[in-house]
């Protein structure tokens, strides 16, 4: 809401500096987002009071040497008139008419004045310099609106009203400030100058003034000439109508145009401008019909009927069906012949006020916010009027709006006002009355006030307050302008607001600490993040939304749209589906980073969104948390220390995953070859399983995936794990007593078929070694001629230790013998040493 200061000052005296006022209002809940200055100090173009003044154009003469220019003699209050050379087309009609009987008023700028260049694109400042124009000295000018920064218009000069005082600095005449407020839904009452003024009056104690409302009802009575029928009283609780006849349509006065412009609206003509002006001023939207275009002067408020159509003011034709009412039939103002307007939202073209209108039928109504909201949403046209109706307009306001509008119409457009007002008020305002106790204020706000103090805070806002029960409570009745007040908490807020939020003390909760509980799922996330960062991975958070194309780039088989939750209103096709895997978005990030750097390690913890089976009780999808890892590039950062140029491969990622599981104390996870997953290299991928449950997958990306993602490095690795399953497998850490006896180390080298997986060899060794084996480390793997085709050698270090004694050689030899036989028997391995 843009509020010109000059307008506001008509309603309430403002003695505070404007910045301070803005801060006061902000602290009272009406946030001032900025102050715009026009012509005054601090404005983008301050009008120099010495050099830009009001001038009186006494005579317009022809230019001796140019047909497109004229000479204007301007009296600007400083002795002799000054001759100005101008090409303003709106002065040409006065050319060679001699001394004008009624001088025109304009804005006179002298040499040195700073103005906007009227002919330049945009807003370019220039300083007025004297120069010869076709032989005549030009060192002053008559300004256009653009040159003053008032509007884009630079066709002609700005003509001021006849009563503009000659010689007055323009700054003092048209300079102004606009306060820009962010009006939240509960402050709908402040969508008007009156509403803002009322807040200021309540805060500062200054009296509130109402504007001129005098109307001379010099026409015949309206009764019997205009009829109003409300068929939908729940949707139209009040409808008032008045009639003014013999108006003259024309431009509205400058002051009104200026205020409309400053408030953000475009002046059209005096009738429309007055309608808008009164809406902005009092907060009551209204509609002006050309009465001659309303059949029988009978307005009928009803729902649309099948097949009805309406061309609205913006010349769009609408089918008046339920699609226009968001599922409800649209509410219309009609005459007996059909629809005239969409109630409270937009007028119709057929009954619009035009240049030839002489009789105006003025509608001021209160509409149900819901139907207005639905219609304006469906129309995608949120007008100034619908914005106010949606938030709720004061039921008692319409007569005031009628009077103010008629008063302005009569003064500005002339005409006779019909006696009386049609007031159809089927659902009168029911005032809300609440009993507020000091105890409740203390309970909710935490301040101790007496009932009388509470009443004193509320009264300036227009609340009627009576002390009841011997001063134990205040009976509060909200004014009709406060439709937002429905319960005690609303009143508590008003009390707190008027008391001042900043004055309320700071206390810490005194009540008992609620029961505290563990959060294993959060703790798991914290640990996993720390472990992975410790392992050298950076944490990414990517979008939960993706596209089928991005999914298909990783795995065409996953791109089955029917499995995914899809947005009904996506912003872009790239973010249309809720992900079922973290890999598409994380691998995009991997690919992106690889264009910039040689080594990338990323992880993400986030949710995936899985549709539930049809018929499930909960309509929401499942949202299990996943962990994804992605890495590629050099194993070591390039540095002068490490000549190692190797790139990461499957085992770098596997090592990270194994370490993570080990540190989480998740044991018994098997890596089972994964040969048929299109995402992965068939010989370098595994499924992680524990007791037959799949925990996730890990592998080197399939070269085709890399091609589609434009990953150019030789190997890129990815894994995706189910964090919920892993979390369930975490076992508590148990301390093992540390033996004080020495360990015995044995190396064991064996040759087995390549088809025997290493984890089977290790398991076999463990099985036969028994409880005395403390650790088992594979430290050499060799394939080659020496061991023969189809075979490989594996060398392990075994560390044995007993908790209670030193192991002797005979014991160790016996165990070793068992292991060797076991390996030979179970795996067909041979021992090399």
């Amino acid at each position: 809401m843009r509020v010109p200061l000059s307008w506001l000052k008509e309603f309430v005296d403002i003695t505070l500096p404007v910045e301070e006022l803005a801060e006061r209002l902000t602290r009272a809940g009406l946030e001032c987002e900025g102050i715009e200055r026009i012509g005054i100090e601090g404005a983008d173009l301050p009008w120099d009071p010495e050099k830009i003044v009001i001038g009186s154009i006494l005579e317009v003469r022809r230019h001796p040497n140019a047909d497109r220019l004229v000479l204007a003699d301007v009296d600007y209050g400083a002795g002799a008139p000054h001759t100005v050379v101008t090409g303003a087309p709106n002065l040409f009609p006065y050319k060679d008419k001699g001394r004008l009987p009624q001088p025109l008023k304009g804005v006179f700028a002298r040499e040195g004045a700073e103005l906007y260049d009227g002919h330049a694109e945009g807003w370019v400042k220039m300083r007025l310099k004297g120069r010869l124009v076709r032989g005549i000295m030009s060192d002053a000018m008559l300004c256009s609106e653009k040159e003053l920064g008032l509007s884009e218009d630079h066709e002609g000069i700005l003509i001021l009203p006849d009563d503009a005082p000659v010689g007055m600095p323009l700054r003092d005449y048209l300079g102004d400030m606009v306060l820009k407020f962010d009006v939240l839904p509960n402050m709908a009452r402040c969508l008007s100058i009156l509403g803002v003024a009322r807040e200021i009056a309540a805060l500062t104690g200054a009296p509130l003034r109402m504007p001129e409302m005098t109307v001379v009802e010099d026409g015949p009575p309206i009764e019997g000439r205009v009829r109003v029928t409300i068929e939908e009283p729940d949707l139209c609780p009040r409808f008032t109508a008045t009639l003014i006849e013999g108006v003259t349509v024309g431009p509205s006065p400058l002051w009104m145009q200026r205020r409309l412009i400053m408030a953000g609206m475009r002046p059209i003509n005096n009738i429309v401008d007055i309608s808008n002006y009164v809406m902005l001023e009092l907060g009551g939207p209204n509609h002006m019909f050309d009465a001659d275009r309303v059949a029988d002067q009978h307005l009928i408020i009803r729902l649309a009927r099948p097949g009805e159509r309406l061309v609205t003011l913006d010349n769009k034709e609408h089918n008046l069906d339920a699609s226009l009412g968001g599922g409800m039939l649209p509410l219309l103002v009609c005459d007996p012949q059909g629809p005239l307007s969409l109630a409270g939202v937009m007028g119709g073209a057929s009954s619009e006020v035009s240049a030839t209108t002489t009789r105006v039928l003025l509608e001021v109504a209160v509409w149900d916010p819901t139907i207005i909201r639905r219609m304006s949403s469906a129309l995608r046209a949120r007008s100034e009027a619908s914005k106010r109706f949606e938030r709720g307009v004061d039921y008692e306001l319409p007569p005031l709006v009628q009077r103010r509008a008629l008063s302005l119409l009569q003064r500005i457009a002339g005409g006779r006002v019909a006696k009386g007002m049609i007031d159809n008020y089927p659902r009168p305002w029911k005032p809300v009355t609440l009993d507020l106790t000091p105890r409740e204020v203390r309970r909710i706000i935490g301040i101790s006030l007496s009932a009388a103090e509470i009443a004193d805070l509320l009264r300036p806002l227009g609340f009627a307050c009576d002390l009841i029960d011997n001063g134990a409570a205040v009976r509060v009745t909200a004014p009709s302008s406060r439709r937002d007040i429905t319960m005690l908490a609303d009143l508590c807020e008003e009390v707190a607001r008027m008391y001042g939020y900043d004055r309320i003390p700071l206390t810490l909760m005194a009540d008992a600490l609620p029961e505290q509980r563990n959060n294993p799922s959060l703790e798991l996330e914290l640990r996993v993040r720390d472990l992975l960062a410790g392992a050298g991975l950076d944490e990414a958070i990517t979008y939960s939304l993706t596209s089928m194309a991005a999914v298909a780039a990783v795995n065409p088989a996953d791109a089955d749209a029917s499995l995914y939750l899809r947005l009904a209103n996506p912003l872009t096709p790239e973010r249309e589906y809720l992900r079922r895997s973290l890999l598409p978005t994380l691998l995009e990030a991997l690919a992106q980073n690889l264009r910039e750097r040689e080594r990338v390690l990323l992880f993400e913890i986030g949710r995936v969104y899985l549709k539930r089976a049809p018929g499930s009780d909960d309509p929401r999808p499942e949202e299990p948390r996943r962990l994804a890892l992605a890495l590629a590039g050099r194993r070591y950062e390039r540095s002068w220390h490490t000549p190692d140029e190797t790139v990461m491969d499957f085992f770098d990622l596997k090592g990270i995953v194994e370490t993570l599981l080990a540190r989480l104390n998740v044991s018994g996870v098997q890596f089972i070859p994964l040969t048929d997953d299109p995402r992965f290299h068939p010989g370098r991928a595994a499924r992680l399983e524990r007791d037959g449950r799949v925990l996730g997958v890990i592998g080197e990306l399939h070269p085709e995936v890399c091609e589609r993602l434009e990953i150019a490095v030789p190997r890129a690795m990815a894994a995706e794990l189910d964090l919920e399953l892993i979390g369930a497998l975490v076992e508590p850490v148990r301390y093992r007593a540390i033996s004080r006896y020495p360990a015995t180390t044995q190396d064991l080298s064996l040759v087995a078929a390549i088809t025997v997986p290493a984890d089977r060899v290790a398991a076999t060794i463990r099985k036969y070694a028994g409880a005395l084996l403390e650790s088992l480390t594979l430290f050499d793997v060799y394939e080659g001629e020496q061991v023969g085709a189809g075979k490989r050698s594996l060398t392990y270090r075994l560390v044995f230790r007993a908790p209670d004694r030193t192991l002797n050689d005979a014991e160790i030899a016996k165990i070793r013998q068992k292991i060797v036989r076991g390996l030979e028997y179970d795996l067909g391995a041979t021992i090399r040493g």
């Binding site: 939240l184 203390r442 909710i444 319960m487 908490a489 810490l508 009540d511 958070i541 990517t542 990338v600």
Partner: protein
């Protein structure tokens, strides 16, 4: 020459020879020549027995003194030589300490994660515990139970992504705030008191710009109990702000509007970028909006299973990305979800 004289002469000769020994080998030779079993001193000692008994004590004493002198001199010479040898070794082993070190590869947590952890820890000390809830929500939980029935004008404050559902199925949407979590946390605890932090991803149907993302995190806190007032909310928020932004940070409370709180408040801190003088980031107001808060609306309390006439509570919400942007001076929110290492590796 008397034995004593011979001893004196030997002492001088040996000390002179020691001076000339330039390395450890020479020292070893010197040692065996003078102090060894077959060395000069031992040879002279054999003459002790031939001395008359009354001369023997003096000669013996002198003999011991010379041995001690030589042994000490040897020790000193050895130490000196070792010092020199080590010095040479140091010189050979010297490095350019300005060369870069071997950096352990330690990853980094996302700035949002770091901000969330700070929030959890500060609020955790006040008894608030993390409570998570779904991102895909029903209209009921995202709006209706939070005092926004259908057609409520405040719904305009949240532009919403809707899920494409079959006709007849319940409306699903991406939560526009973590506030639905309030209902879950309340229902799990009512009628007992609760203090919860509700973190998580939220979504808004909003054009993505440097300042607005379609996806962002939010953290809400709620506290419900028998005697919780607006003054407690103020105290809690100021304590929180002082932990995050320093003791004595200037704060401002101003009335605001949220459909699920009444009264509602916007909490600002003095802009730490310009010290309150006004800058681009604070839109020249001198204040930074840090969070929105209020006393939980009676309808919401009731929907959560509480009796609003018996208990009261407050709620507050904040955006960790915005807080991180202010803390680190990040000018574009889009980096947060880019997965770009140039961004991630700065925190």
């Amino acid at each position: 020459m008397s034995l004593i004289d011979q001893l004196n002469q030997l002492e001088q000769e040996a000390l002179a020879a020691l001076e000339r020994a330039a390395d450890l080998t020479a020292l070893a030779e010197w040692k065996s020549a003078y102090l060894g079993k077959q060395g000069a001193l031992s040879r002279l000692s054999r003459g002790l027995g031939a001395l008359p008994a009354e001369e023997r004590p003096a000669a013996g004493a002198r003999f011991n003194a010379v041995r001690a002198t030589l042994e000490q001199a040897l020790e000193r010479a050895e130490a000196q030589l070792k010092r020199i040898a080590r010095q040479h070794a140091f010189e050979a082993d010297q490095v350019d300490v300005t060369l870069p070190g071997r950096a352990p590869a330690i990853g980094r947590l996302h700035p949002t994660t770091q901000m969330l952890r700070t929030i959890y820890s500060v609020l955790g000390e006040m008894g608030f515990q993390v409570w998570e809830s779904p991102e895909v929500e029903t209209d009921e939980f995202n709006f209706q139970l939070l005092n926004m029935p259908p057609d409520h004008p405040a719904r305009d404050m949240w532009d919403t992504f809707y899920i494409d559902t079959a006709p007849g199925e319940p409306t699903l949407l991406l939560r526009t705030h973590t506030s639905p979590g309030q209902i879950y946390a309340m229902r799990a605890n009512a009628p007992n008191p609760v203090r919860a932090i509700l973190p998580g991803k939220c979504y808004r149907y909003e054009q993505v710009t440097a300042r607005h993302e379609m996806q962002f995190f939010q953290v809400e806190g709620i506290a419900i109990g028998e005697q919780i007032s607006f003054a407690d909310l103020k105290g809690t928020l100021v304590a929180f702000a002082e932990r995050l932004y320093g003791k004595g940070v200037k704060t401002r409370f101003r009335p605001s509007y949220f459909p699920f709180t009444e009264p509602s408040v916007e909490f600002d801190i003095e802009c730490f970028l310009c010290g309150g003088a006004g800058c681009r980031v604070c839109k020249h107001s001198g204040w930074l909006e840090i969070l929105g808060a209020g006393m939980i609306h009676p309808t919401v309390l009731r929907n959560g299973g509480y009796d609003p006439e018996k208990v009261s509570g407050f709620a507050f919400g904040m955006g960790p990305e915005r807080m991180a942007m202010l803390r680190y001076g990040i000018d574009d929110i889009r980096w947060f979800f880019s997965g770009d290492e140039r961004f991630l590796q700065q925190f």
